[in-house]
Symmetry: C2
DNA sequence: TGTGTGATGTTATACAGTAACATTTGAGAC
DNA sequence: GTCTCAAATGTTACTGTATAACATCACACA
């Protein structure tokens, strides 16, 4: 999706959910969009500091948490990072593939793949909540 | 598995892999075994400090990393923690279920559940490497 | 008995995240 | 208009997580 279109959709998405994509949150989202793949909170913080002189961790963490909450970003626990979600419109479960070599990220809809996992958990009476799976591996380009 | 049996198997397991379960590594494993569920590195560090007076982070991280490498522990990224693996003998992929309420952990063999996920990744030419999935949810006891 | 390798010790620091409280801003009541 | 409340942002300080870099130790084996 193109950047401007994305931002516009993101704004509408927030509107629909009854919350606001404020200037700060929007700017943080833009900064994340400028990277390919996984971005660290402190990278965004550094970018923000370049623009505004000062910025403290809570500023960026609050914005990132908000964006995750609205489904615009996914958190990547294994890397303490964040990636843009390209289909926040549809409620979904994702399979996020992170290439160990180049750091690129691919995101798939994981609906049916996850069903088997969910069933396995159900078999021991464990309810897993909807969530995104982030897996490491090698991408098309790198495992050539 | 009973504690002593477990430790003995662990020792044999390391032997088989051509590495050593030294006194320190063994002690760290014992400390982790004393907890139910997820354990933090700094908890283990604190325990170690109680016993030995001094101990620095690298001491415990090195031991934990070793134990993860040999398959005796799994790392739980989402919680910055570690859990004991109860079937390190068989090479396996696990589904590790962490209860959000009580912190308990259940580990299943995830072989077939993961197959679907692996296929989905394969469809976009992405090779995911064998790994354990750690998922949050609620356990049998808690979602009553 | 040397010597090289892997394990451990030690110091310092980098990176990640949050608590607590102050200040600002903007929407709706009046 | 201005009051007021809630949500967002600013600010300070701190806690927690992890690793780099180098020193030392211990043991297998030449």
């Amino acid at each position: 999706m193109e950047r401007d279109v994305y931002l516009q959709s993101a704004e509408a998405h927030c509107e629909r959910l009854g919350c606001k994509l404020t200037a700060l949150r929007r700017r943080v989202l833009e900064l994340v969009l400028e990277y390919d793949g996984v971005v660290k909170a402190y990278q965004v913080l550094a970018d923000l500091q370049k623009e505004r002189g000062v910025a403290a961790p809570p500023t960026v963490y609050r914005a990132l948490d908000f964006l995750v909450e609205q489904g615009l970003l996914h958190r990547v626990d294994a890397l303490n990072g964040f990636v843009v979600c390209n289909h926040f419109e549809c409620s979904h479960e994702s399979l996020i593939l992170v290439c160990e070599d180049c750091g690129r990220v691919e995101e798939l809809d994981a609906g049916q793949g996850l069903a088997a996992v969910r069933d396995a958990a159900g078999a021991v009476a464990f309810n897993i909540k909807p969530q995104n799976l982030v897996l490491a591996g090698t991408c098309r380009a790198c495992h050539a």
